[in-house]
């Protein structure tokens, strides 16, 4: 447990909601509006934390446990995440599997809680989330497999640090392919635009938002904060791959904010894909990851 990794945890926990602010600011810039303040997400969370909650009588403990377990899982996953030169708080061989597993547990409880609420819309959102994540998760696994094959290590900190050491030799295009695949997974997992529109509140098109429809007060604040941290984690993975070899933590942090700007630009210039096309996009990302893995092995 070293000081730099504690600093990383602290930075992530403090600045994660800011990423949403940057994305929204970029989108309003594209749309010619002034947009919400950069710190809007903090205000929202603070306001929600002061409110009370109302639970429907049809719900059980699963519904109440959902946001808490989600936040807990994502916090543990954050402890496994290295960022640029900063090592993870806790690192062991195979920790990337634990990280994917934690994200899966978070998703599982979000879906269970959505079904528990007894609303047909939320059940529909849960079923969509299950379908798409079943395709996004293998792609993420393949990305990690490719990186760990290249770095000859099974722990995330080693993977990204050693990956940076020999990134210059041999196949330069491979990290670019990997970054594209990871970016698609990042967009899909965080319910961003080609897969899901975070702004829409039309029930028939929502995926992630619809599962949080029945929450209010502190629970909703937990969900907001957990999704901000999840965005930070997957974004950090993308940035780690793109900026491998850069020793400065500030550059990596700047990379994360730049990633947020890219996400905002993508959301302003693209429409949501048809639901039927989404699996194809995710399988394409998986194919790219598989290609990098094969190239790394061959």
């Amino acid at each position: 447990m070293s000081v730099p990794s504690l600093v990383h945890m602290a930075i992530a926990m403090i600045t994660a909601p800011l990423i949403f602010g940057i994305i929204n600011r970029t989108k309003s810039l594209f749309g010619g509006r002034e947009g919400p303040p950069l710190l809007q997400q903090y205000f929202d969370i603070a306001k929600l934390l002061q409110k009370g909650t109302v639970y429907s009588r049809t719900t059980s403990w699963v519904f109440r446990a959902g946001p808490v377990i989600g936040l807990a899982c994502v916090l543990i996953a954050l402890a496994l995440l290295p960022l640029g030169p900063l090592p993870a708080l806790c690192s062991f061989p195979g920790d990337f599997i634990v990280m994917i597993g934690l994200l899966a547990v978070m998703r599982f409880f979000t879906m269970l809680a959505a079904i528990d609420a007894g609303s047909s819309f939320e059940g529909m959102g849960a079923s969509r989330e299950a379908t798409f994540s079943a395709l996004a998760e293998p792609a993420l696994f393949l990305c990690f497999a490719a990186i760990s094959q290249k770095a000859a290590s099974l722990s995330l900190s080693d993977m990204f640090l050693r990956h940076s050491g020999d990134a210059t030799h041999g196949s330069a295009p491979a990290p670019a392919l990997l970054a594209v695949a990871l970016f698609v997974v990042f967009l899909a997992e965080n319910a961003r635009i080609p897969v899901d529109d975070p702004n829409t509140h039309l029930e028939l098109t929502m995926i992630h938002e619809v599962m949080a429809l029945d929450y209010g007060g502190p629970d909703l604040a937990f969900i907001f904060y957990a999704s901000a941290l999840k965005l930070w984690i997957l974004g950090a993975l993308v940035v780690n791959v793109v900026l491998s070899g850069i020793e400065s933590a500030w550059a990596v942090l700047a990379g994360l904010f730049f990633l947020a700007i890219i996400v905002g630009a993508v959301e302003s210039t693209m429409a949501r894909l048809k639901l039927l096309r989404v699996p194809q996009l995710l399988i394409g990302a998986g194919a790219l990851a598989m290609l990098t893995l094969i190239v790394a092995m061959g």
Binding site: P279, L288, M290, I294, V295, G298
Partner: protein
Amino acid sequence: MSSWIELAVLFLILSNFALLGASRVTTLIQVAAGQGILLGLLPLLAHAKQGNLRLIAVALIAGLLKGVIFPVMLGRALREANIRREVEPFVGYSLSLILGVFALACSFWIASRLPATALFLSRKALPAAFSTILTGFFMIVARRKALTQVLGYLVLENGIYLFSISLGQKIPFAVELGVLLDVFVAVFVMGIAMFHINREFDHLDVGQLSALKD
């Protein structure tokens, strides 16, 4: 220089994925044209220092045929035969992509089993050639339209061409030109045949061939 070859080979593999996942016939033609141009560039990249005139001539002819003339001919066939622009596959796009990845893995395995010859291009050229050949076969089998079958045939030929240039300068000039001429004639004849089939039957759906009786 070798990193450029690697990049070109990687783009070839990516274009194979694009061929399997694309849903528009026009996109397929464009991707196949891109493949042709890449294949024309590859020998030039590999032998830029030697400046062999014969090699440059073959590369230019191949690039011109595969990258410009075939796509133009196929585009014309597409327009004149009034074919619907969707691919209409027998095997869906997602499954095609997964099979493409599987074929790529198999190609790398096959290439690793081959006796190591004096390889000219990068080590990935041989598996890329196999995967291109398999993609071509797959397009011939799993797509409904006669036009996409011609495209599959072209992709198959691209793979064989890549195979031959990755094995080195062993193939004589005359043979290579002969192969190119064959392909040219084949695409020409298939274009005309498609036009006639279309005039006769109003469609190019080969799935209906199985309903034929004598």
